[in-house]
Symmetry: C2
DNA sequence: TGCCCGATGTTGACCGCATGAACATTCCGG
DNA sequence: CCGGAATGTTCATGCGGTCAACATCGGGCA
């Protein structure tokens, strides 16, 4: 993520991207609260206010980082699922895939705490229009949720959960891994030794999978 | 929480408490990030630096609020459980109590988003001693966890989960309600209409309970 | 009783950050 | 080749955290 630039000219040439990279680095190092406009500008070697030519302000910069982090999270999930060996029994395969997605999720959170927190941080909106229309589904751009949903669908096709529970089931699975991740990162489970932490993760996974299996 | 004071003297008389109240109000209104030393002092009608006679700085003030919020959360859980009617079947009673605790948990989060977030916010430590000794259990002062643990114990005594899963099972249940709360508050489930939100909550509860029931 | 010290507040100052206004430098299309 | 649009810069304002020096109060001891 650390970009290098050669000659110094008055015009940077790709400041927007450079700032994004710097901001992502900052978030990676210390989470969303460390995404500071001035610091990003400093790292890129540009004056603080230059950023305003490319972003509405700190808010928009952070939102960009957030999007990046959400993508990275989903990627981690897909990679984990791809590593998972298949199975003849479709139900078993579906369960394995669900578990792998969960592991990819928590794995990303633990490996990239700063980015993970950035992926879910709250960013002040531009307009004070708090009254966005209600939304049936979670913010659509969250691919992580889509992945859980699809996995649960597959499980359903293999005969497991009641049809009418979906898509709530996706949200339930998501809740479990999200809560687990946060408790492990900055929450009260932060100091668990690795082995005990693993136990907690596996227990939670079991809860998710059996919760999806049993009507 | 809003305190009134009578005559104005140079010495306030109970500044520490007054500041805490103001800070809790702030957190209630806008979460931990709105707990601002200067603002708390302003509300109490005192100069900003006066707070330093009673707190190490913003950090300690916030930590105090956090503790308060954790207590309030646990109280909400216990109240919800107390409202729950008993049952003849001990296993059923145990399941009901667990569900009630969860509802009390999520209910608090939804009713007091600011306080809830404050209860789990990260506060910079005084010394940079990142290397606290590893801890087998979650931070002991978190009564919420204790409550989940006890409820699962009761369920275990009624014959449900495998012995060896505890206390991981407590963490799993906690993860589910914690993640659910956060997704509902500022997360991607924030805009769900009330009815759909209820469905998600109930589905998650079912996951927690069946997850605890099935070995 | 009266005075002095420590506890408690206050002022003033410094630093970092977000953000806006006015000014400077490039670059590119006509 | 030139002028305006892009893109950066400097200057200034306001907020928040925190420190040092100074002011005030109140209670205990001589």
């Amino acid at each position: 993520m650390a970009a290098i630039s050669g000659g110094k000219t008055y015009h940077h040439g790709d400041l927007r991207n450079a700032l994004i990279c710097a901001a992502v680095d900052l978030a990676t190092e210390g989470g969303p609260e460390r995404v500071v406009l001035r610091e990003a500008a400093r790292r890129v070697g540009v004056s603080p206010t230059a950023a305003y030519r490319h972003f509405d302000g700190r808010g928009e910069l952070l939102r960009t980082v957030k999007t990046h982090a959400q993508r990275a999270l989903a990627d981690s999930m897909e990679r984990a699922a791809a590593r998972e060996p298949g199975a003849d029994d479709p139900a078993l395969a579906a369960e394995r895939r669900l578990a792998a997605l969960c592991r990819g999720y928590v794995g990303f959170a633990v490996a990239q705490p700063g980015l993970y927190r950035a992926a879910f941080c709250v960013v002040r909106q531009a307009g004070p229009d708090e009254s966005a229309p209600e939304c049936r589904m979670p913010e659509p751009e969250i691919r992580a949720f889509t992945l859980f949903g699809e996995a649960l669908d597959a499980l359903a096709r293999a005969g497991a959960p009641r049809r009418d529970v979906r898509p709530s089931a996706g949200a339930a699975a998501w809740s479990a891994v999200h809560g687990l991740s946060l408790l492990l990162l900055d929450g009260p489970l932060r100091r668990l030794p690795a082995q005990r932490r693993n136990a907690v993760v596996e227990t939670t996974l079991a809860m998710v999978v059996t919760g999806a299996r049993i009507p």
